[in-house]
């Protein structure tokens, strides 16, 4: 069986790179490949992941500097050509800074970092990345961020909702809008969005940290399976 190379970008300050590497490696046929930020070659990767962390220390603004690194030019070209790109946490922030996804991630409404298990509702199973789930399914990925408060202008929010491009929404354990269900104050409880073409997904919660029941959840496997299948 042919291997599917999946590129994992390492910026200075990326710190979930190994976690994503392990998550990709756990998927059958997937072959994780490191992509260094100073490089200009995706090394044949058929899918790309921007992992979480604090690229360039989150200085200036989360993701604002990373988007100018040499590798990002290639990632943008790859995405524009329809290649599957997944951005997790800081990766999501970079995708919005690079213009591959709409909106911005602002400081959490609680003004502090928040790390906890987080229930999510899968709003659409009709994407490359969420085919393994069912619409309306409640799953759990950990969140860990200080700037995850998704915002966009009202017209863009309406458009995202109308086009079913809100892929995940924060919910409470029972799938409802309970008190404190939303960890960061994002508009419409948005946790993850996809681009118009459906090949670039960004989300704040960490599927890479939900790969093993011993660590609390194995619900994240579906995302990486989806990515690898889309890339194959």
């Amino acid at each position: 069986m042919t291997q599917v190379p999946i590129g994992i970008v390492r910026f200075p300050g990326t710190n979930c790179d190994q976690d994503v590497f392990d998550a990709v490696a756990a998927v059958e046929r997937a072959c994780p490949v490191w992509l260094w930020h100073k490089e200009t070659d995706l090394q044949g990767a058929k899918g790309v992941v921007l992992a979480g962390g604090f690229s360039y220390g989150d200085y200036l603004r989360a993701g604002a500097i990373a988007r100018f690194s040499p590798i990002m030019e290639e990632v943008v070209r790859f995405a524009v050509d329809g290649g599957p790109v997944l951005g997790i946490c800081n990766g999501f922030q970079i995708l919005t800074e690079a213009g591959l996804l709409p909106g911005a991630l602002m400081r959490n409404d609680r003004l502090t970092f928040v790390c906890r298990p987080q229930s999510l509702k899968v709003e659409t199973a009709d994407t490359l990345f969420t085919r393994q789930y069912e619409r309306g399914q409640v799953i759990s990925f950990p969140v860990a961020h200080a700037e995850g408060n998704f915002a966009a202008d009202p017209a863009m929010i309406d458009r995202l909702e109308d086009e079913c491009r809100v892929v995940f929404r924060y919910v409470d354990d029972r799938g409802g809008k309970g008190l404190d269900a939303n960890p960061n104050g994002s508009i419409n409880d948005i946790a993850g969005v996809i681009n118009e073409r459906g090949n670039v997904l960004g989300l704040m919660p960490h599927p890479d940290r939900a790969m093993d029941r011993m660590l609390g959840s194995a619900d994240g496997r579906g995302i990486f399976q989806g990515l690898v299948e889309a890339a194959a």
């Binding site: 200075p12 300050g13 710190n15 979930c16 190994q18 976690d19 392990d22 979480g52 962390g53 604090f54 360039y56 220390g57 989150d58 200085y59 502090t112 970092f113 928040v114 790390c115 906890r116 950990p142 860990a144 200080a146 960490h206 890479d208 940290r209 790969m211 093993d212 011993m214 660590l215």
Partner: protein, 748 residues
């Protein structure tokens, strides 16, 4: 006796301002065979400060057990290391950053985390976990709330950015810490034993490099003046002595250092921590038995016009001193370039045993290396027990003194006291999942990490009880170790070794010195009995301000091993009808307890007696019970006694479940419920396993009794005493700290 001072710049006032006594100054002159110049005086003041030279503690620390088959590296290095099998070692250490955090809580706490991370990765180990132990005044003080919020933010922002999970720790609030909070940070790393790197400047002719950040004026005299003296009232004036952290640089330095060690290009590496370039260079030369020389004008600066004195004493963060074969310089530079770090050759290793410093090729210091590191004066004295202990110990309760204290109301008070309440407000600000190995995170008795590539698990905890040590230093020291061991056993781990952080007041005062000596004796005895040698640690004296000394607070960071991670004991694994067993006997002792402090507002009496044989036997019994597959879940009986342990156990159960406790006899339930006697655990066993468990425990000659069961009614019952609603109790635990932190703060 008079001192002759030839250098016009060095006079008795200057000597005193450097924190050195006249006697010490004379010793320096004798070691040099001349008077020191001002730069040399500054260097001695740092290296002979309590913080770097351990002059009041060194002789006593030698009494701590530090050997054992599990010890790969004992005290004296940047961090200790222990063998966990499969060729792997765990490297760990704890350190204080108390005064910097009192002065500037955010940067003080952040740089404490940065320093301890570097101590671990400089050994070649990849950091895998952080823990911390914090003490603050009571939360009704607006300044305490300010310190608490900023310390937590500083710890979180630094560890989160570097990407090392903060998996556990403790936070205690007591008025004794109002003027001087305690911030102790522990880091744990892992490596293949063959990769262990030491901080040595070996091989005369080898080159010396500074790797990482440039050097500025921040942190000058942090070690000598800030860490080695009592806190003044106006702490704002000390702010220039606090360093500023940059976790992004730390992350780059971490990756570059590990890559450098892996490449084999580095012979020795050391973090430039307290006393910066001075301590790192002299300590590396001491360990290798060599000399070292360098030129301060080659050290990259971030500020113009810095004197040699300032460069030598700066505690600018995120810098490492590297010794390497000059032929491998290209490899060194390639790695530094990859991580966008500066790497500058500043000097070389020599064979004359002299620590020699130049500025633009002109010699500014020439001091025998050992005069800085080994000739530090040490002070030992015999002191009498302080008078306050006798009056505390004279405490004895009047008959009927607890008649008016309703036990369930007392439980509610305890569970919502900030020291015992849920710390979710704190640990949700720390990334505790990154690196995807956190099997049991903050909030349990101990944290458990999976060791990737093996079946093994690592259990980690920090414990200390300053009130106990204040009320009885020997018992308090021993009980801190015992409590840490119990916490590890309660998750199914075998304790292996400890690191300690010894936080005390001014050791020049007899009462404080007595507390220190006796607490250390207690720690040593407990470590011997429990087979947990001390492999690293830190002493922090002068933790006192105008409101007095803090409680003497040794904190114990303990590491344990779970051979098979599938056999860990974790919260919540229990069902309706499961039996509760109290292993280790009933509580009888309320002296110095949380009950006395939180419910009655009294600090009196003595902490429980120490029975180290029972601690060991009962720990082994819990592990045997677990090995036999008989334990559902387990909690050690600590602060707040059986009543609080059972409540915490209940909070971990599936919602809808509750517990029912039975206590023998109806009279005087308080000591049975809230007594903090040692060597005790509460466990759940399935109904069908109860007799097998009882048999096994009887065989092991461990005192045990059935003390209740798991119920299906979401309530907390004590038979014949009363009941409380689970959700009400749990909410009071969860909301205590968040509610306190909603009030305004002040940075006075």
């Amino acid at each position: 006796m008079t001192v002759t001072l030839h250098d016009p710049l060095v006079n008795p006032e200057i000597v005193a301002a450097h924190g050195l006594t006249t006697d010490e100054y004379e010793q320096i002159c004798a070691l040099l065979g001349r008077d020191p110049n001002l730069t040399e005086l500054g260097v001695f003041s740092l290296m002979w400060s309590e913080h770097c030279g351990y002059k009041h503690s060194r002789a006593r620390l030698a009494d701590l057990p530090s050997t054992g088959p599990q010890v790969v590296q004992g005290p004296g290095e940047n961090a200790g290391a222990i063998d966990i099998g499969e060729g792997l070692a765990i490297v760990f250490k704890m350190e204080s950053h108390n005064h910097p955090s009192a002065v500037e809580p955010y940067q003080g706490a952040a740089t404490g985390v940065g320093g301890i991370l570097r101590d671990v990765f400089t050994m070649g180990a990849r950091p895998i976990a952080l823990l911390n132990s914090l003490r603050f005044g009571e939360l009704d003080d607006p300044h305490v709330r300010y310190l608490f919020r900023r310390v937590v933010a500083g710890i979180g922002d630094y560890g989160n950015c570097v990407g090392i999970p903060t998996v556990g720790g403790e936070v205690v609030f007591d008025d004794a810490y109002r003027g001087n909070p305690l911030v102790n940070a522990m880091c744990v790393g892992i490596l293949a034993q063959n990769d262990l790197t030491r901080g040595v400047a070996s091989g005369p002719g080898n080159a010396v490099y500074v790797l990482g950040a440039s050097t500025g004026r921040d942190g000058i005299h942090g070690a000598s003046l800030l860490a080695s003296a009592e806190l003044a009232d106006d702490t704002a004036e000390s702010r220039p002595t606090v360093q500023v952290g940059d976790p992004f640089s730390e992350k780059l330095l971490l990756e570059a250092t590990l890559e450098l060690i892996e490449s084999g290009a580095a012979i020795g590496i050391q973090d430039m921590g307290a006393a910066g370039l001075t301590s790192s260079s002299s300590e590396m030369a001491t360990r290798a038995g060599t000399g070292i020389e360098f030129d301060v004008s080659r050290v990259p600066r971030r500020e113009p016009d810095m004197s040699p004195y300032e460069v030598l004493l700066s505690e600018s963060q995120e810098r490492m001193l590297v010794v390497a074969d000059p032929h491998r310089e290209p490899q060194l530079m390639t790695i530094a370039d990859k991580w966008d770090l500066a790497c500058t050759r500043i000097g070389s290793v020599t064979d004359d045993g002299i620590w020699r410093v130049f500025e633009d090729c002109e010699e500014v210091c020439a001091i025998p290396v050992e005069a800085l590191t080994e000739a530090v004066p040490t002070y030992v004295r015999e002191v009498e027990p302080p008078a306050y202990l006798a009056s505390l110990h004279a405490w004895s309760p009047r008959p009927g003194w607890l008649d008016c204290v309703e036990p369930l109301a007392a439980l509610a008070t305890l569970i919502s006291a900030p020291s015992l309440a849920s710390k979710r407000w704190v640990f949700e600000q720390y990334d505790h999942h990154v690196r995807t190995a956190t099997v049991i995170g903050p909030g349990a008795d101990a944290a458990v990490l999976a060791i990737k590539g093996t079946q093994r698990g690592l259990a980690l905890t920090i414990d200390g009880n300053g009130r106990y040590v204040y009320c009885d230093p020997y018992r308090g020291g021993a009980l801190a170790v015992a409590e840490a061991a119990r916490n590890l056993v309660a998750v199914g781990a075998t304790p292996l070794a400890i690191t300690d952080c010894l936080n005390f007041g001014n050791p020049e005062k007899d009462d404080i010195y007595y507390q220190f000596v006796e607490a250390l004796r207690g720690i040593a005895d407990a470590c011997r009995a429990l087979d947990t040698p001390v492999v690293s640690g830190n002493v922090s004296f002068y933790n006192q301000s105008s409101v007095g000394a803090v409680y003497p607070t040794p904190t114990i960071g303990m590491v344990g091993l779970i051979q098979d991670i599938e056999k860990r004991i974790y919260p919540g694994r229990a069902a309706v009808g499961d039996r509760l067993l109290l292993v280790g006997g009933d509580g009888a002792h309320l002296g110095a307890s949380s009950f006395l402090k939180e419910v009655l507002g009294e600090v009196a009496g003595r902490p429980p007696t120490v029975d180290l044989k029972a601690e060991r036997m009962n720990a082994e019994a819990i592990l045997a019970l677990n090995e036999a597959g008989l334990i559902g879940t387990c909690r050690d009986v600590g602060d707040g006694g059986l009543a609080v342990a059972a409540a915490e156990l209940m909070f971990g159960l599936e919602s809808g479940l509750g517990v029912e406790l039975e206590i023998p006899g109806r009279a005087g339930p308080h000591a049975l419920l809230f007594g903090e006697d040692g060597a005790r655990y509460v466990v759940t066993v399935a109904e069908d396993d109860e007799s097998r468990a009882a048999e096994l425990l009887a065989e092991l000659e461990v005192v045990t009794r059935a003390c209740g069961r798991v119920t299906g009614d979401a309530a907390y019952h004590v038979v014949d005493v009363g009941s409380a609603n689970r959700s009400v109790l749990q909410a009071s635990s969860e909301t205590s700290i968040p509610n306190a932190m909603r009030q305004t703060e002040s940075n006075r």
